[in-house]
């Protein structure tokens, strides 16, 4: 397939994968921090880079039923969060297509 190059972001505050420091998302892109994941706090982002999405699965979250996919860092293949595919409740529709990154699995890359 060829070499998988990383995308680099331009910002003063960037979150990256804890293991390999690959750029994942811009801190100014956060929509909300009021989320909880398996490892504690999680942030909702508009766009993330350098991730691969897995297979969709239906999960019951505190806010209701959702169809989500797990996201892995492209470089080290560690799971860093998930992506919302579909939200069954109308009040949760705003999450569709957005990404959740778990704060514990992130680090600051300046």
């Amino acid at each position: 397939m060829g070499l998988t190059y990383n995308t680099y972001l331009n910002s003063d505050k960037i979150y990256g994968c804890k293991n390999c420091k690959a750029h994942l998302a811009n801190a100014h892109d956060i929509i909300s921090r009021n989320f909880r994941g398996q490892h504690g706090k999680a942030y909702l982002f508009n766009t993330v880079v350098n991730v691969e999405t897995g297979d969709p699965s239906e999960r019951n979250m505190t806010t209701g039923r959702h169809v989500v996919r797990d996201i892995q860092c492209r470089q080290c293949k560690d799971v860093v969060g998930w992506k919302y595919d579909r939200a069954y409740e109308s009040s949760e529709k705003y999450k569709e297509g957005k990404f959740i990154l778990e704060a514990e699995l992130l680090c600051n890359v300046t």
């Binding site: 998988t4 190059y5 680099y8 804890k18 921090r33 600051n108």
Partner: protein, 655 residues
């Protein structure tokens, strides 16, 4: 004179070369000599043409040929006046005559003129029947038509040489011209010719090689070739993300070629091998800036080599190098006396090696120290780093008696084991501290920050995210009253859940230089927003605008705040649009016209709020800025200019 030049021409057509000569003979005597050779060329061709015409006209057999209808010549026969020697060439023959007519007129290229004219006789013969009846007419028409058409060419004829500008100019100017091209364009241009190839790969054009724009597209071989040819000229090398440099030989060639590096970034070149990296460091003894983020090739031995071979190093970034630990940092600190900027995030081993901390304390050279994510850093290590192994304390004030540190920026994000005891040690010892980031140090309370705020008058950036034990009293009593409050530009208190209006109102009242405040996940409400709007209003009236066009000077981040409602957002939006309404309605007969008065009040607040309101807010801000720009008479300022200017200013503000 004209007749003498055409003495060799045929008597049958005295007029035709004569017509040339007659009309060409505009210049005085000195130029005639120059005209001679050309004229002779021309007249030879003319001669041949007219001789052939003679032959045709005299031969009986060919009459039939002539009288055959010729579509090409027929349309032109009517234009009798144009039948001068000029028109001879411009008469139509289907055999590509435009070149000859243009050559006649242009005289730019002497070499082509005779050939085209020489070509005409052979080609012109079909058209000669148009000429025959007109030969007689020519005499009459010449003086009228020919001077008009030929006078210009004479001027140019003297300068008829091939003018190859690029060959004449000196090499330095050629290089200056090429220096405006981007690397991609330079490579493309190099294919023009061998000389261009030499020029384009001249080392002086490649002193700064920044692959950020094309690291994905450039093949490893090209990258190596360019760097090899540029070789010792390369000073700034940025190979961030270039995974292609994996092959041993290629990387080695690169390293052999570049031995004058001043600043290098190899971030993300995960396939770079350790021996090659070591060779690179050994050959580049003048390195000043080095960025080796995330390279698995870096280990303690690499750091030892850096400390030995690169004595001039001033900034080093070895974040995320998992193969090394704090001992390597100690080598670097002790070996590079000029080191001012060290980014060592995610490095293990700080607690087990107290020598590192002692080394940092003793050398006291660092101005910027980033130790984020060093999760095994303990209180003791950090205290040693700041105060030394056995600090003495003043008996009366209980303050440490250590000489002041040169630290200006300290980042300790996520070093979770640090608590109040060690952070307190920063107080009174770091007078030049400008940026402090203590985000995610969840054990901290107010008591750690109070002394720091009291003793750091230059503080501009303060990051206190996720410190849930902080209370309002810190902000009321210490942030607002500290000596640094007028200078504070950036304040982040995201996720400090106990902070509310009571704490933030005094902050907005006293910190008038604020540029960005992150208050998400706190308990602030609309009152804080009103206060912020007030602050911006008063400061925009009292101080001159920081930029020539309306710009966002305060960024508020307030998503996830349940107490903020649309009313608060409206406060901010109405403050943004105040200059528009005020300008329209003059109060008390005082009209704000252009000049000083009109230039104030142009500061806009940028807002990042709850996602459902965000689009409305964005649109409102965009429109306000556009109208403000237009009010200023910046009609021709396109929205792109304003946006770009805003972006530039924001980038400047955020550093």
């Amino acid at each position: 004179m004209a007749d003498s030049t055409i003495s060799h021409s045929t008597p049958d057509s005295p007029a035709s070369p004569g017509s040339e000569a007659g009309s060409l003979n505009v210049q005085p005597g000195s130029d005639v000599a120059e005209q001679f050779p050309v004229l002779q060329h021309k007249s030879k061709g003319r001669q041949r043409l007219l001789r052939s015409l003679q032959r045709i006209s005299s031969s009986q057999n060919l009459r039939a040929r002539i009288t055959r209808p010729r579509a090409s010549s027929a349309p032109y026969r009517s234009s009798a006046s144009s039948l001068s020697c000029v028109s001879l060439t411009s008469t139509p023959s289907p055999f590509g005559q435009p070149s000859s007519s243009s050559s006649y007129f242009s005289f730019g290229d002497v070499s082509t003129a005779p050939t085209s004219v020489a070509a005409t006789p052979a080609v012109e013969t079909p058209g000669c029947d148009g000429i025959e009846p007109v030969l007689a007419v020519r005499k009459v028409d010449h003086p009228v038509s020919t001077p008009m058409t030929i006078s210009l060419p004479t001027e140019i004829k003297k300068k008829a040489k091939i003018f190859n500008f690029w060959d004449i100019i000196p090499n330095e100017i050629k290089l200056y011209v090429l220096s405006f091209l981007s690397p991609r364009e330079l490579v493309r241009v190099s294919r023009v010719s061998k000389k261009f190839h030499e020029l384009c790969f001249d080392g002086q054009l490649w002193t700064e090689f920044d692959a950020s724009n094309f690291y994905r597209d450039i093949p490893a071989e090209s990258l190596t070739k360019i760097l090899e040819t540029a070789g010792p000229f390369v000073h700034d090398l940025n190979l961030r993300g270039c995974l292609q440099i994996e092959h041993m030989q290629r990387a080695q060639r690169l390293v052999k070629a570049c031995h004058n590096l001043y600043s290098t970034t190899l971030e993300g070149c995960r396939n770079f091998q350790r021996p090659t990296l070591h060779a690179l460091l050994k050959t580049n003894n003048q390195l000043v800036h080095l960025n080796l983020t995330g390279l698995p090739a870096v280990n303690n031995a690499t750091c030892k080599i850096i400390s030995r071979e690169c004595p001039d190093l001033e900034s080093l970034n070895i974040s995320g190098c998992r193969e090394m630990d704090a001992r390597g940092i100690r080598f670097v600190i002790e070996g590079c006396p000029k080191l001012r900027d060290l980014c060592a995030s995610s490095i293990r081993g700080f607690s087990s090696n107290a020598d590192v901390a002692t080394a940092i304390f003793k050398t006291n050279n660092l101005e910027r120290l980033v130790l984020s994510n060093c999760s095994d850093m303990t209180d003791d290590t950090f205290t040693t780093m700041i105060l030394g192994p056995n600090p003495e304390f003043d008996m009366l004030t209980n303050r440490p008696l250590t000489p002041p540190r040169k630290l200006r920026h300290l980042d300790l994000t996520r070093c979770c084991r640090l608590s109040d005891n060690s952070i307190k040690s920063l107080a009174y010892v770091t007078p030049q501290l400008e940026g402090l980031s203590l985000s995610n140090l969840t054990l901290l309370t107010d008591s750690a920050l109070e002394p720091i705020l009291a003793s750091s008058p230059n503080l501009t950036h303060l990051d206190l995210e996720d410190l849930s034990h902080l209370t309002n009293s810190l902000f009321i009593n210490h942030v607002a009253k500290s000596p640094c409050s007028p200078k504070l530009e950036h304040l982040a208190i995201s996720a400090c859940e106990s902070i509310s209006d009571a704490g933030m109102l005094p902050v907005f009242q006293s910190c008038t230089n604020l540029r960005s405040v992150l208050m998400d996940n706190t308990r602030i409400s609309n009152l804080t927003l009103t206060e912020a709007a007030d602050m911006v209003r008063s400061r925009s009236l009292s101080r001159p605008s920081p930029s020539p066009f309306p710009v966002t000077t305060l960024h508020l981040t307030i998503y996830d705040t349940p107490l903020v409602t649309w009313t608060g957002i409206l406060e901010i939006l109405s403050r943004n649009s105040e200059p528009l309404t005020a300008a329209k309605t003059p109060k008390d007969g005082v009209v704000e016209v252009g000049g000083e008065g009109g230039k104030r009040g142009k500061e806009v607040i940028g807002l990042k709020c709850f996602h459902t309101w965000q689009m409305t807010v964005d649109e409102h801000t965009r429109r306000v800025l556009r109208v403000l720009a237009r009010q200023w008479g910046l009609r021709r300022y396109s929205l792109e200019c304003i946006r770009e200017g805003r972006k530039k200013l924001i980038c400047q503000q955020r550093g």
